[in-house]
């Protein structure tokens, strides 16, 4: 963190002396020395001045206090030391309000040591605030970068999703339902997040999410199946003998249930449940079939769930970062300029690494970026129109090629 000091004095010898004292005592500081207000404002316009050492009398009817008023316009946080031969005549209250934090009397004890000590004292005082401003500036820049990249990453993730989870669920359930001749089925996914938060999601045989289970997982049929660590059938369905267990709505009123656990990941378990096979219910052959299907299904779901969770993890992290930086007040305004090339290159690399991607990485990124730019410039309705155009094109191509 480099300190920037501006010395303004119309006397060249004084100006040069002050500059030499500072550059020799604080070689890491950036020191500018100018003769008048105009030059001072020019420096302030080009550099973030932390401390101004201002001569009270700058000649030509100008004074240091007036210059400070103008400097504050460029740099609201600037502090100043006023150098004067008439310190007793200064107006302390006004000066203090404008940022004057010290006076140096030309006629009393002005030497290299007292001057450097005064400058160093003020720089030390402003360091914490300066560090905070710098942090805010960097966070604001980070936030802006994230805001630009997030929609692209999210959309790219959709392109990369190799097997969407509902599709995987539907395929697996369709297979085991046909194989066992069950009437229906469901799949329950139990996930434990890194912070210990647990969630349970149930899917129907159509792959769609079922209403959130209200039963505590520990009291559920699925938890019992997981404890078994292998397929288990419930043909003698006596609700009175269920013990401390509660059925989920889609499990109630079933004549029989066959269930198998799938260990998809260390933090995710899945239970496949099949319902209502005609009498005499599920057999040992059905258990063997669902055990085999579970092994295949585990791989299928592992990919779908893991991909989804990886994406979700990224999105959660980005959301958390956005939330943490939401209070920043000096955030640069969002613009529709494209994200930095390095970020785009990294995304492209990620897309190219996925063998299941449905489109080339360049095409994917170009499309996503085009939609993002469209949204920024013309709003959501323009994107809606874009979606409609794409769908119309797909229909047209389907008709031309005879694709169902």
């Amino acid at each position: 963190m480099t300190d920037t000091v501006l010395i303004v004095d119309d006397e060249e010898s004084v100006r040069r002396t002050f500059q030499e004292w500072l550059t020799s005592a604080m070689p890491e500081a950036q020191v500018f020395a100018v003769a008048d207000s105009e030059s001072a404002l020019k420096v302030a316009n080009e550099h973030a001045v932390d401390l101004a050492v201002l001569d009270w009398n700058l000649g030509s009817g100008s004074d240091g206090l007036r210059l400070l008023e103008d400097l504050v316009e460029f740099r609201p946080d600037v502090v100043a030391i006023l150098v004067t031969g008439f310190a007793h005549q200064a107006t302390p209250l006004d000066a203090l309000r404008m940022g004057v934090r010290d006076y140096i009397d030309k006629n009393q004890d002005l030497n290299r040591d007292t001057f450097v000590a005064a400058v160093r004292r003020q720089l030390d005082r402003i360091h914490p605030a300066k560090q905070q401003r710098e942090l805010n500036r960097r966070l604001a820049a980070f936030r802006e970068a994230v805001e630009k990249v997030l929609p692209i990453v999210q959309t790219s993730a959709a392109f990369n999703d190799p097997v969407p989870l509902p599709a995987a669920v539907k395929s697996l359930l369709r297979f085991v339902i046909r194989g066992t001749r069950a009437a229906d089925g469901a799949l329950i996914v139990r996930h434990t997040a890194a912070d210990g938060t647990q969630s349970t999601t149930a899917y129907g045989s159509d792959g769609l999410v079922l209403p959130a289970p209200l039963v505590a997982f520990g009291n559920s049929l699925a938890a019992s199946v997981i404890s078994f660590q292998e397929p288990v059938a419930l043909n003698d369905f006596d609700p009175k003998a269920l013990g401390p267990m509660q059925l989920l709505p889609f499990e109630a009123n079933r004549s029989c249930i066959l269930a198998a656990p799938l260990r998809v990941a260390s933090d995710t378990v899945v239970v496949v449940e099949l319902f209502d096979k005609a009498s005499p219910g599920f057999t040992d052959d059905d258990k063997r079939l669902i055990a085999s299907a579970a092994e295949v299904g585990t791989d299928l779901l592992r990919q779908a769930v893991a991909e989804r969770q990886t994406h979700q993890l990224l999105f959660d992290a980005v959301d958390a970062a956005l939330h943490a930086t939401a209070h920043l007040t000096d955030m640069p305004s969002a613009s529709d300029t494209a994200p930095p090339p390095s970020v785009m290159a990294r995304l492209k690399e990620g897309l190219a690494a996925d063998s299941n991607a449905t489109a080339p990485p360049d095409t994917t990124l170009r499309l996503v970026e085009a939609v993002r730019a469209l949204a920024v410039r013309h709003g959501p309705s323009a994107v809606e129109h874009c979606v409609k155009v794409v769908n119309d094109l797909r229909k047209l191509l389907d008709e031309m090629t005879g694709t169902a």
């Binding site: 009291n219 938890a223 292998e230 013990g243 267990m245 995710t268």
Partner: protein, 272 residues
């Protein structure tokens, strides 16, 4: 299954006297004075206490703890992590209603049964609860014991139980053709149990296979899959039977119990 000899020996005498009837019709063979740890998925205490109170055989207050791979155990809240443990505990209590039952919940929120958690529960059951019998119906799959040190740690914990005169009953894996389930595969220092169906839940069989020595009744009484034959339910049947035997002579050692079980099978099998 004793073979009559022209001149009976003391063993014929023992076999003639040591029958299932001579043990199980003894009014003192209730499990009283014997502490049993159910290392499983927790126990729904109030439900079981109410069930046995209603049946006219009130049980002792169930205590327990919740175990994790690292750190001290958490307090037992009287609830299950899944219904499996409650079904297992119900079987133990059905067989030996007067045992003091401890619930060691080793079933994590993701449904995994980590080796370190089971080992922690084993140590706690032996050192803190001073149990005489441990029931392990939850197996640790073989793939979790690929690392030799982990397998050795589990083996050592089982051996420690043996040398502290604590009986460990472990469920063999059910029908999986490839997977061996631990610790049941550590058969010699413990009693491994396979499933079987018997007319009387007090009946069991000695049926030595590669790693499994005993078969016990494999249908439970209470819980979602209790009626489904499973080694998970067979194991607490034999653990409960052992607790009843121990209540007649609590200082029996694991190898003595194993021998008595074998002899009971020999003499009882002639009747069955």
């Amino acid at each position: 299954m004793t073979s009559p000899l022209p001149n009976p020996t003391v063993f014929d005498d023992i076999f003639a006297r040591l029958t299932p009837d001579s043990i199980f019709t003894d009014a003192r063979a209730t499990g009283d004075g014997i502490a049993v740890a159910v290392i499983d998925s927790g126990v729904e205490r109030a439900v079981l206490e109410e069930k046995f109170r209603t049946a006219g055989t009130p049980i002792q207050h169930i205590e327990g703890a919740i175990f994790r791979p690292t750190g001290p155990p958490l307090p037992y809240t009287g609830h299950q992590s899944s219904p499996h443990g409650t079904t297992v505990a119900d079987i133990v209590l059905t067989m030996a209603p007067r045992v003091k039952l401890y619930s060691a919940d080793v079933f994590g929120p993701t449904g995994s049964c980590e080796v370190e958690t089971v080992i922690a529960a084993l140590h706690h059951a032996i050192d803190v609860w001073n149990v005489k019998v441990i029931n392990l119906s939850l197996g640790v799959p073989e793939h979790k014991l690929q690392q030799v040190p982990r397998r050795q740690q589990l083996q050592r914990a089982i051996e420690e139980a043996y040398f502290r005169d604590v009986l460990v009953f472990a469920a063999a894996h059910n029908e999986h053709p490839l997977t061996r389930s631990y610790p049941a595969a550590f058969a010699p220092p413990l009693i491994s149990v396979d499933k079987g169906l018997f007319d009387d839940p007090l009946h069991f069989a000695y049926k030595l296979t590669e790693q499994v020595e005993f078969q016990a009744h494999s249908r439970g009484y209470f819980g979602p899959f209790a009626r489904e034959p499973a080694t998970s339910w067979a194991t607490p049947h034999l653990a409960g039977i052992a607790a009843r035997i121990l209540s007649l002579k609590p200082d029996l050692k694991p190898f003595e119990i194993k021998t008595i079980l074998y002899w009971l099978f020999r003499s009882g099998n002639a009747r069955v």
